[in-house]
Amino acid sequence: MREFTLTDMERLGAFDEAERTFQMTEEAFRSFYELTARQVRVYLARMTGDARLADDLLQEAYYRFLRSRMMFENDDHRRRYLYRIATNLVHDHRRRPRVEMPVELKPELHPAFSDPGVAERAARRIDLQRAMGRLKPRERTMLWLAYALGWSHDEIAASIGVKTGSLKPMLHRARHRLAGLLRSGGRS
């Protein structure tokens, strides 16, 4: 495969072309990105359990979003579509054997852990992440979309590609499993 490189002139031309190829202007993208990037990055990190992979997938998700030919009704529709891209990207990486503890939340590395209240809350978060890591990828996705982002059953069903009627028992099972894992301290 031939490797392509870009000259400075071509690089400048890339921006003109991007304006034509992408589905929004740079200015519109900046405001949309500011609204969504952190949430999507957290979602990706929780779904993959890998901070570096989450960074890569974040870039990939926005790239695919920019190149999409979708006509969006509003910002909510746009946001849901971005999450659908992110969900698909995560599912493409499903083969990874297990979810690891995100580095930035290990107690010994986090300065806020000297405060007992903060430490307790952080310990709960670590328990949650550990328990989430033991769930199936689809269960993690459903629970996050439902209880972190507050999506409706219809929206979650559309995002993961199941019928709304099938989603309810699936969500119930996932929730029950997570509660069980939390009670047992993350052990299945």
């Binding site: 495969m1 392509f4 740079e26 990055r41 974040l58 920019l66």
Partner: protein, 170 residues
């Protein structure tokens, strides 16, 4: 048998996500959640997940919007360049196949004309060397050299073409 769902579940989730649970939430709803197993579980888990989400949002570092835009623009440019080059690669492959076919057809067509050359060599050698054994040995050698010469010409023609396709193709 435990219930799978409760009609109040979305209201509990909404109250937790709005940061109203339990102090500022509807008292009737909070009282219901104390009694309802489903809503109680939903309230606990939503509080945990929402708390994790909110805190992570502030802790997490994301690249600047301009950086993501710039990388995407560069990648789009590279991909469109590759897409534009794809028909050229197809053209190269088609041209190579046609050239090989034409060369093969030429060799096949020219083969009957090469046979008299063998007789010509034999006659010429016989004219110079009347001894049939010496003439036969010489004619055999010359015939082999003629075949090698044809092969060398073919290689000389094909090598630059092959080199061109190897270095230019993807």
């Amino acid at each position: 048998m435990t219930r799978n769902e409760c009609i109040h579940e979305p209201f509990v989730v909404e109250a937790v996500l709005a940061g109203q649970w339990p102090e500022q939430a509807n008292e009737v709803l909070v009282a219901h959640a104390d009694e309802c197993e489903v809503c109680r579980e939903v309230a606990v888990l939503t509080t945990l997940i929402h708390d994790d989400h909110e805190r992570s949002r502030f802790e997490v570092q994301v690249p600047a919007a301009g950086q993501v835009w710039w990388r995407s623009a560069i990648r789009a440019r590279l991909e469109s360049t590759q897409t534009a080059m794809r028909p050229m690669s197809w053209m190269h492959a088609v041209t190579a196949a046609i050239t090989a076919g034409v060369l093969l057809a030429l060799v096949t067509a020219a083969w009957p004309m090469l046979a008299p050359i063998g007789h010509l060599i034999w006659n010429v050698v016989l004219g110079y060397f009347p001894n049939p054994e010496v003439a036969a040995a010489l004619a055999g050698g010359l015939r082999q050299m003629a075949v090698l010469g044809v092969l060398a010409v073919a290689v000389l023609l094909a090598a630059p073409l092959a080199l061109y396709y190897v270095l230019s193709g993807d």
